[in-house]
């Protein structure tokens, strides 16, 4: 590595004394207004951690595993819209961040991940705690860097934050060799970034927008298909206004939940594999499909050839590569969702959708979301009650599997950034650390982490971090003793040959208590409501509730992978005698005002 005695003379506008890379690093984060940093120290970052001590503007959260740090940063980013920031050491520290980075890449979450690296002269040497993290993360980052000279450090950090947060957001990794962080130079944080080869298109092409408007104005059976990009661009308000102006029914993807209030009569809830019957039917029979910040993922489309086959398709997305990737569209519009929707709204007029909405309402009546309720707790009931008790004013952070789908179906999301989950990658173990990150960003709403018994154990070590910081996370574990979604597939598609899906679990309540977190176990439906109420009223730190639920329940409706609405499986007929023996039938209709629980709602946490 070049010594740079010359850097001392060559002060080009840099102010004051020479600083080490480590000092420049922390000052750059302050310049980026980073409030919280999730990390874990090690040999390669020891200098950086020393410099962190001198900065009071940044809260460092010592997670108990680097995977927890990346998910926490994701939760923070999803809840706030600001980039999540991670600091890990070299080698195993860096490789532990990989799952979180891949998760953020799939779900377009802005993250900046800093990793320590062995000194430049040792790179490639199989040095202690060396891993080629830049090589490892190349396919799962929007971009990544190895900083080879301290004079590049500030500019690289500036670029990293810019790339992570602009266009289609995503994770950016910056690898920091130990010796570079000890080198000195003048600190001069750039005010702007000029990247020769990166300029996201934000304004939609006006001709394309006009074409889209004409198509929409001629529609008789339109559907808005709304994805997470709508929330990422802060375009939920514009979307809602457009839908209401057009009187156009709205279905959302898993990540689109919250972009449109599900108690609005135009709401159809989620579409796709476990979407509502009526949203899938509406997409199947619509004549114009308006895709907004969505990417035609296989869990949404099933068989792509049959997906909205009769419809002309409009696709608004900031990422040109997302357009016509899976499904060929008629009118693509590349641009920021919020801006495009604003421009589009001026060119469209209300559509006479009365007949269309009547058809959809009939489907809603005939095929509501439903489940059998009895003394044994149904996870659906927990989600429904949580929605009723909080009135939707909570940030719900789910994990992956059956409970995730049930939360998506039954909570009734009404605000953007209140639903946080791992969608694209489907990372079990996401919820607990992500909820922890969300709390650091948002104190205005209660944060509820919901996991299954499997996923909870994948990052349960973060209980320690949550307790240490007295974070008011409501930790719900939906325990059915199974890896439920895999079990469901084995039941339905593999002749019920259960293979490695039954879990022998610890005593979760005692585990929570061992971490210093009060815990309760609920085993009867009659106790669910009061357990949720006391959890929501709990102050002073986290609380834990285990819901022991029906062991072998299935998520319905279901379109089996790669198939079409014709193969959609609705909830088994509730009128059949055996089903009746199991208790009452609960139904949930999207697009109606929320049922309010008998007792007055508890206000959000303190």
């Amino acid at each position: 590595m070049a010594r740079h005695a010359h850097a001392e003379e060559g002060s080009h506008g840099g102010t004051g004394r020479l600083m080490t890379g480590a000092e420049i690093f922390v000052r750059s984060l302050v310049a980026e207004k980073v409030e919280v940093l999730f990390g874990y120290p090690g040999g390669a970052t020891i200098g950086v951690y020393d410099a962190l001590r001198d900065i009071s503007d940044i809260t460092h959260v010592l997670t108990r595993h680097e995977q927890g740090a990346t998910h926490a940063a994701e939760g923070y980013a999803k809840a706030t819209g600001k980039p999540g920031v991670v600091l890990a050491t070299s080698g195993p520290g860096a490789t532990n961040t990989v799952t979180g980075i891949a998760d953020a890449f799939m779900d377009s979450i802005p993250l900046v991940v800093f990793t320590g690296q062995v000194p430049l002269r040792l790179i490639g040497n199989d040095a202690f705690q060396e891993a080629d993290i830049v090589g490892i993360t190349r396919p799962i980052t929007k971009h990544n860097y190895l900083v080879r000279d301290v004079r590049e450090l500030a500019r690289t950090i500036k670029e990293a934050f810019y790339i992570a947060t602009s266009g289609r957001p995503g994770p950016v990794l910056v690898d920091l060799p130990k010796d570079v962080m000890a080198q000195k130079t003048h600190f001069d944080y750039p005010e702007s970034v000029a990247l020769r080869s990166y300029a996201p298109v934000l304004e939609g092409n006006s001709r394309q927008i006009r074409k889209a408007a004409e198509l929409i104005n001629s529609a008789r059976r339109p559907v808005l298909y709304v994805g997470g990009g709508t929330i990422l661009s802060n375009g939920a308000e514009e979307l809602t206004a457009l839908a209401r102006k057009l009187r156009c029914p709205v279905t959302t993807t898993l990540h689109g939940l919250g972009a449109f209030p599900e108690n609005d009569p135009l709401a159809m809830g989620m579409l796709g594999m476990h979407g509502t019957w009526y949203s899938n039917m509406a997409v199947n029979f619509c004549d114009v499909l308006i895709a907004v910040g969505a990417r035609f993922d296989d869990r949404v489309t099933g068989n792509v050839d049959a997906f909205a086959a009769e419809a002309k398709k409009i696709h608004i997305d900031v990422d040109p590569a997302a357009i016509s990737k899976n499904v060929k569209v008629d009118v693509p519009i590349v641009g920021d969702v919020k801006r495009v929707l604003t421009a589009l709204a001026e060119l469209v007029s209300p559509i006479d959708t009365a007949d269309w909405l009547r058809t959809i309402d009939a489907w809603k009546e005939e095929h509501p979301l439903r489940y059998r309720n009895g003394d044994e707790i149904r996870a659906q009931y927990v989600m429904q009650k949580l929605g009723e008790i909080t009135g939707g004013d909570a940030i719900v952070v789910t994990d992956v599997g059956q409970h995730q789908m049930w939360a998506a179906q039954f909570f009734n999301f009404t605000h953007p950034r209140t639903h946080i989950t791992s969608g694209g990658l489907g990372t079990m173990g996401f919820s607990l650390p992500a909820a922890m990150g969300a709390v650091f960003g948002r104190r205005d709403l209660p944060v509820v982490s919901i996991s299954g018994d499997g996923g909870f154990q994948m990052n349960s070590q973060e209980m320690a971090t949550i307790v240490q910081h007295k974070l008011p996370v409501k930790i719900f574990v939906i325990n059915n003793g199974f890896l439920g979604m895999v079990r469901q597939w084995q039941e339905l598609f593999w002749r019920r040959r259960y293979s490695q899906v039954a879990l022998a679990n610890p005593d979760f309540v005692r585990l929570a208590e061992a971490y210093g977190c009060p815990g309760t176990r609920v085993t009867r439906t009659g106790d669910v409501e009061s357990a949720i109420r006391s959890a929501m009223a709990h102050t002073g730190g986290p609380c834990f509730v285990e819901f022991v639920v029906a062991a072998e329940d299935n998520v319905y409706p279901m379109i089996p992978a790669g198939q079409t609405v014709n193969e959609m499986i609705d909830t088994p007929d509730p009128a059949s005698e055996t089903e009746q023996a199991n208790g009452s039938i609960e139904t949930v209709h999207k697009g109606k005002a929320r049922k309010v629980s008998t007792h007055a709602a508890v206000p959000g946490n303190a």
């Binding site: 090589g135 190349r138 929007k142 080869s197 040109p320 990737k325 060929k328």
Partner: protein, 182 residues
């Protein structure tokens, strides 16, 4: 061109028919750490077929030109150019297939030769305007440049003499600037 590549592709069910075309894609990329790796990795990760890939300096020392010959139907080629454009270090992507362009390949062929066959080989070299760049009692090494078809042709002509070793570049290409009347 390796014949087996279509078999290696995840799009193996796509038969090389009139829909699947060979495209010459010219890329200007900043000379940054890991940039080439990122491009090659993108092709591997997405399962796209590359017939050849060349890279070399340009008139601008901060930028290299990469010429990739890739195969696919229109949708795959569209995705390839979009995915390339997404990479931060890439300055420009041009699918030359839609343009008029000049392209060249270079091949070095070491072919067995005896006193009997040497004149015949040299005659072939002359026809193709190839150069003899090395000679030994039992071999001749020829250098030929030209379009892919021309390079294919000289290789075909030399095969009967037994090719000992061969090194062939991929295609380099530039857009034609002026289309005057002939």
């Amino acid at each position: 061109m390796p014949q087996s590549q279509a078999m290696l592709s995840p799009h193996a069910d796509v038969v090389l028919d009139e829909k699947v075309k060979r495209h010459t894609i010219s890329i200007l990329v900043q000379n940054k750490f890991g940039a080439f790796n990122r491009i090659a990795g993108m092709f591997a990760a997405k399962g796209y077929n590359i017939d050849s890939l060349t890279v070399g300096p340009t008139e601008d020392e901060t930028v290299s030109r990469m010429t990739i010959v890739a195969r696919g139907d229109d949708q795959i080629i569209e995705q390839i150019t979009k995915q390339l454009n997404k990479l931060i270090d890439i300055v420009k992507v041009i699918d030359l297939t839609f343009e008029s362009f000049v392209d060249r390949e270079l091949v070095l062929v070491k072919v067995h030769s005896t006193t009997e066959t040497r004149p015949e080989i040299m005659q072939i070299a002359e026809i193709f305007r190839a150069k003899v760049v090395d000679i030994s009692p039992r071999t001749l090494t020829l250098e030929a440049t030209g379009s892919q078809q021309k390079v294919d042709a000289i290789i075909k002509m030399l095969k009967p003499f037994a090719i000992k070793e061969m090194a062939r570049t991929g295609r380099v290409a530039l857009k034609r600037e002026f289309q005057g009347e002939v």
